[in-house]
């Protein structure tokens, strides 16, 4: 489909650890369209950050990509060598990594760091840089004076915006934002999300928003993928998914968000987070699922289309036949 920008097929990313093989991302497939905002939700340890790193080919040992394809605009990124990928990284796909605020070099000025990000991937003369950097800062809502400052002089929100500026510096087609607002106050979070949305409208890139906060996902994304224990358990349009979540895990995640409209008792998801070295047999969610059936312990459900553009991996739905759009 010409409208598709990214097509991930059967991606497996494992880590060889002291105690065994950690299957952080286990057979994940999803698509991102052009100019689409795609969300990936799930709690810590579900594999979403590993997925983000894999998309930007930033997996380092002891992690490795076991198999899979990442087809970006027709090319399988995993088949490119380092030189070829350099053409893509940052220019066409960029990433705002988790805790990016802490990734800023404390002894370099902001402008120097942005310049570094640019010149590492493009040959730009200094004169142009001096024009582009203030433009960039303005586009993320920072005063141009920020360029001369050091990271410790900036607040959390400003640091996050500086990192976003670095990510969009070369006008990529795809931006991956990994937990970009988790450490921020709620008002700053809103501001950052607003900034991201503005930038997206202006520059037209696709955005993959990785966040564990379901409310944030609801407010921003077009489509949402819910991950659990290294697999995608549900995917669908934001409106459909939130109105009627199908997978029990999605349902519980959404209902665990406390609300200000009514007081309700806190609903917990029973059990412990899954062990990725030795995941539960069959459906990985079965030890914690309130609707567990016998088959859930034995057979792993596949993603099947239950409603238009909506896939669920659960034995409560579908008949096990895998369908892909």
């Amino acid at each position: 489909m010409s409208n598709q920008l990214l097509d991930v097929k059967g991606l497996k990313v494992y880590y060889s650890g002291l105690k065994g093989l950690v299957k952080a991302v286990d057979d994940v497939s999803f698509q991102v369209g052009k100019k689409e905002i795609c969300g990936i939700a799930g709690e810590s340890g579900c594999g979403k950050s590993t997925l983000a790193s894999a998309l930007a080919r930033l997996i380092v040992p002891p992690g490795y990509i076991e198999e899979g394809q990442i087809v970006f605009d027709g090319t399988d990124l995993l088949k490119l060598d380092e030189e070829q990928f350099r053409e893509i990284r940052w220019k066409r796909i960029s990433i705002v990594p988790q805790s990016a605020m802490n990734a800023l070099n404390p002894v370099m000025k902001v402008s120097e760091q942005i310049a570094d990000a640019i010149t590492a991937h493009e040959n730009v003369p200094d004169r142009d840089l001096n024009e582009r950097i203030p433009e960039l800062l303005k586009s993320v809502g920072l005063f141009p004076e920020v360029a001369r400052m050091f990271p410790h002089e900036l607040s959390g929100g400003m640091k996050q915006r500086a990192v976003i500026a670095m990510a969009i510096a070369l006008r990529p087609d795809l931006v991956i934002a990994d937990e970009s607002t988790s450490a921020l106050d709620v008002t700053i979070q809103r501001l950052i999300l607003q900034t991201l949305m503005d930038l997206r409208r202006r520059l037209g890139f696709s955005l993959i928003l990785i966040a564990h906060d379901m409310a944030v996902q609801a407010q921003t994304v077009d489509r949402l993928n819910v991950m659990y224990a290294g697999k995608i358990v549900e995917t669908g349009s934001a409106i459909d998914l939130f109105k009627e979540p199908l997978h029990p895990y999605s349902k519980m995640l959404i209902s665990s968000v406390p609300s200000l409209k009514a007081k309700k008792i806190f609903e917990a998801i029973p059990g412990l987070p899954p062990n990725l070295i030795n995941p539960p047999s069959g459906c990985r969610f079965h030890p914690r699922c309130p609707h567990i059936m016998d088959i859930c312990r034995i057979e792993e459900p596949k993603l099947c289309e239950v409603r238009r553009n909506g896939l669920v991996a659960c034995h409560l739905f579908g008949d096990g036949i895998e369908q892909r759009i």
Partner: protein
Amino acid sequence: MDWSPVICLVMALSNESRLEVNHVTKIFQLRGGVFKKTKELVAVDDVSFSMPREPIILTFAGETGSGKTTISKLILGFSKPTSGEIIYNGKNIWKMSKEEWMRYRKDVQAVFQDPYAAFNPFYRVDHILKLSIRKFKLVNSKSEVEKIADEALDAVGLRSEEIAGKYVHQLSGGQRQRVMVARAFLLKPKIIVADEPVSMIDASMRASLLNIILNLKKEFGVSFLYITHDLSTAYSLSDRIAILYRGTIVEEGHIDAVIERPAHPYTISLIDSIPTPNPTDRWTQRINIAMDNGGEGDKHKGCIFYDRCPNALETCLQKRPGMIDIEKDHRVKCFR
């Protein structure tokens, strides 16, 4: 026999609050370097509140820089107020004798934000439990130590077999946090200061921890000072709330009053910025927070929220507003 003086005394005692914080201010001196003057950072500015004897859950809500952590440190006695007093059962905590201070320590406990950092990685997790028991001489014999530890773990829903002999890194975030609560509860305190207890725990496990807090209050009568930046959990959890901004309480009162009828512009913007898990109910207005220039801008004598207030008046620049009662159990620090 005339019981009235006794009754009066009893009533007086029961009306007196357990913990009172009176006009406490904490100013940090920052060294500016060789050529700059010493800068002052006003972390807490004239804060007053009290915790009554009946068990309640009082929330302190504020963002980073609001001073909420400093307040918790002041209450726990880790830091001395620059001015003002903290009174417990009628006595200023900095003027207490050694026994009174031990009593205070026992009655006022804490749970911290980062469940991993709160445990010494060198020891097993039950080290901190046994330590508390020993230090406060809760028991007389060694065999009873195990019993009390088990009771505390039970109250937070953990079985002692689950955590026996384990180190911090072998437990999940939720389990660690529960052990921390168990440790605090062990000493049968009257007040537990909980500083962002759930912000570092996954959503699926937050609920169980919050339920534990509610349970401790209902069943064991423990009051909580719940410090958070997340208003939504506060709404379902607490009885009263105080909103902090840059070191002062800008609005406080009963939880329903403040959340359903917020008066201070900061409270309003805070509530408004909380995302709801409903894609059809998205933020329509754009917000425009003035650029944060690191707190340099409040050299004027007026209201601290002046820079960000959409309804600012002339008077706001010149005078500090005081606390005004709006309705029953609902006060606001604003001229409107």
